[in-house]
């Protein structure tokens, strides 16, 4: 009697910049692809994001950063997830991230980073194809 349930994805903006066009479009696209999107709004701290992700038992966290603070913020999110034993939650992101930083962040554990101009369908496909380990 177990039912398959929709993926639960946290979508939010960390850091101080308020450019939420992209993140809202992604939230809508994931919803339209049949997922449950928990949207946390602007100006989230890494601490808030991780606490929310755990309370909501999400499968993945998608974060947008356009202010250049990506290295600090993504690393902090990964670190906190690990501390809480929740590093099975996939972290992906979007924003203005130079190639060099993309490589470093992927090495640190960010699953994917989508730059400006990425088609929404690519992001949806990526999330859909996440391994269902849980």
């Amino acid at each position: 009697m177990t039912v398959t349930s929709p993926l639960r994805i946290l979508i939010g903006k960390v850091g101080l910049d308020g450019h939420d066009r992209g993140v809202k479009l992604i939230a809508r696209a994931l919803r339209d692809a049949g997922m449950e999107v928990i949207y946390t709004g602007l100006h989230q701290t890494p601490e808030q994001v991780v606490s929310t992700a755990i309370q909501e038992d999400v499968d993945a966290i998608g974060l947008s950063v356009l202010s250049g603070a990506h290295m600090t913020l993504f690393r902090r999110v990964l670190e906190l997830l690990k501390e809480q034993g929740a590093d099975d939650i996939v972290v992906f992101g979007g924003g203005i991230v130079p190639n060099e930083d993309v490589l470093a962040l992927k090495e640190a554990g960010v699953k994917a980073l989508f730059g400006p101009g990425t088609p929404l369908e690519d992001i949806v496909r990526f999330v859909k194809e996440l391994p269902r380990s849980r």
Binding site: G15, L16, D17, G18, H19, D20, R21, K24, L25, A27, R28, Y39, G41, L42, H43, T45, L66, S67, G68, A69, H70, M71, T72, L73, R76, I96, P98, N99, G115, P116, G117, P119, L120, E121
Partner: protein
């Protein structure tokens, strides 16, 4: 005859016909709707000679790292023929936070220059006499505070305020609509804007106290019509607030300026500038009947569309920017910023900035488009588009009036929702390849050739944090606290914020301390949820 598509439409979704002719302009009167350049309704431009008299100001927005880093970039730009400065602040400054605030972690000096104190502002303009340049400052929520710092620097340089020229963005309404960088609720924020307007009218007469900005509205995904409508309506809201505060319209309206985006749809963008001037003149005339014709004139700065740039094949961005810059010039802008090709990747390198500036210089010096005023005036197509944009913007005006004005509309989430819907429509068109973006959904290259990018040293943050600690230790704490308390009292009592604010920054109160103190008096804001 077969055509490539069943429907041709502008970037904003206006249906475009195969051909335009006299029938499209049946109700159009050149005398009424076009006029002469420099005359009502200013469709053709606000000056009789336009670029034959004086070229536009080439003003490149710049700021990163510490005040010293940006000061060096400013000097570099001035040496290369730029004619005005434009300060980009970092995110903590834009949000009224100090560099050592926990929320500022990782953000210091990243997307603009880090300024937390008067000492930082002094370093930023070191060796640049403020009466020799004009300075544009892109700052909104904490605009009065940064402006007070600028005035304090001028005072220290011995330059009377009457000689200062420049622009403070100070447009808080578009923050609630689009950019989401506010400190206080809309009503008290509007009052601070009015305070700055009144103070400038009195003390800094050559300063532009607000730059009413459509740029960010467009970047948030709006159409050209929405950009035009919401921006001009914001402008009317500021005018109304100032008039209600007792300022005669001709005391401040001539110093208002606008700031538009220039996107890819060449003719639609040109029409947007023309419609903006005509609509502003007509609305100002209808609502306030100013005596001074300059109160009717829409002056503007333009910036090429950051959101049109692609991370893929970044060199293509040079071409996009050139087309957009040309549209702004043919639209009759007073000043222009051209984006650099690498801005979807990071802050621009010096090399990229120089190329962007050279783009403007080539248009100005080589293309000969500056030889005549409003060269597209009378074009059936451009005039029709100008009419359509004006009419559709007026339709938005009616809806906003019916809602009780812009603040009420913002609190209901109306402009936010309109923009979100527009941006989703646009995104869908790209996903379905109804619009092709070269390098993104067409002409894609598998191998991307990397271009050099600017790195911000993480040391910047540490340096700023140390400096702030030293500043807090060295200043007179009683003097500082007293100045901040007087500021709070003055603001609570409804006095103009500027004089006590200048005293507070001179007493070494930091940006973050001042903004926190102001929040105690003015409150904070949570936006309506629009999803």
């Amino acid at each position: 005859m077969n055509e490539r598509k069943s429907r041709f439409s502008s970037l904003s979704g206006i249906e475009i016909h195969r051909l335009y002719g006299p029938d499209d302009l049946k109700n159009w009167s050149p005398d009424r709707d076009l006029g002469r350049p420099g005359e009502f309704p200013y469709t053709r431009g606000i000056y009789p000679t336009m670029y034959r008299g004086r070229l536009w100001t080439m003003r490149q927005f710049a700021g990163f790292g510490t005040a010293e880093d940006t000061n060096r970039r400013f000097r570099y730009l001035l040496e290369h023929g730029q004619t005005g400065l434009s300060v980009a602040f970092d995110m903590p400054a834009l949000m009224g936070l100090d560099a050592d605030d926990p929320l500022a972690r990782g953000e210091v000096g990243r997307c603009g220059v880090s300024i937390s104190s008067l000492a930082d502002m002094e370093r930023l303009f070191d060796g640049i006499p403020l009466d020799q340049v004009t300075t544009s400052m892109t700052i909104n929520g904490p605009a009065p505070v940064l402006f007070a710092m600028y005035l304090a620097v001028a005072e220290k340089q011995g330059i009377p305020f009457e000689k200062l020229g420049g622009t403070l963005q100070n447009d808080i309404l578009k923050e609630y609509i689009a950019q989401k960088e506010w400190l206080f609720p809309p009503a008290p924020s509007l009052r601070l804007v009015t305070d700055v307007v009144a103070y400038c009218a009195d003390r800094v007469p050559k300063w532009h106290p607000i730059s009413i900005s459509g740029y960010h509205i467009r970047e948030a995904g709006s159409t050209a019509v929405q950009e035009l409508a919401f921006t001009l309506y914001d402008g009317l809201t500021y005018v109304e607030a100032a008039v209600k505060a007792g300022l005669p319209v001709d005391r401040f309206a001539p110093r208002l300026s606008f700031f538009f985006n220039v996107h890819n749809d060449f003719f639609e963008e040109i029409a947007k500038f023309r419609a903006a001037r005509r609509l502003w003149a007509r609305e100002m005339e209808r609502r306030y009947q100013p005596r001074d014709p300059r109160s009717l004139q829409l002056r503007c700065h333009a910036q090429t569309a950051g959101c049109s740039l692609t991370a893929q094949q970044p060199m293509n961005n040079v071409v996009r920017t050139t087309i957009q810059a040309l549209a702004a010039v043919l639209g009759g802008t007073q000043s222009l910023h051209t984006n650099s090709m690498d801005e979807t990747l990071a802050l621009p390198t010096e090399e990229a900035v120089r190329l962007a500036l050279r783009t403007q210089q080539i248009i100005a010096e080589e293309s000969e488009v500056t030889n005549t005023v409003d060269p597209l005036g009378g074009s059936y197509y451009v005039e029709t588009l100008t009419n359509q944009l004006e009419e559709e913007a007026q339709e938005y005006f009616r809806r906003l009036d019916a809602m009780g004005g812009m603040v009420a509309a913002i609190e209901q989430g109306f402009p936010q929702r309109e923009i979100l819907e527009a941006s989703q429509r646009y995104q869908r068109e790209i996903e379905r390849r109804e619009r092709v973006i070269v390098g993104v959904n067409g002409y894609v290259e598998q191998e991307e050739r990397p271009i050099p990018i600017l790195k911000i040293d993480p040391e910047v943050e540490r340096l700023q944090v140390t400096r702030l600690a030293e500043l807090r230790k060295a200043r007179d704490p009683f003097k500082m606290a007293g100045a901040v308390a007087s500021l709070q009292e003055a603001v609570a009592g409804g006095e103009n914020i500027m004089p006590p604010l200048i005293e507070a920054v001179k007493a070494q109160a930091t940006l973050g301390e001042i903004c926190a103190a102001l929040k105690e008096v003015l409150g904070t804001y949570r936006e309506p949820v629009v999803l």
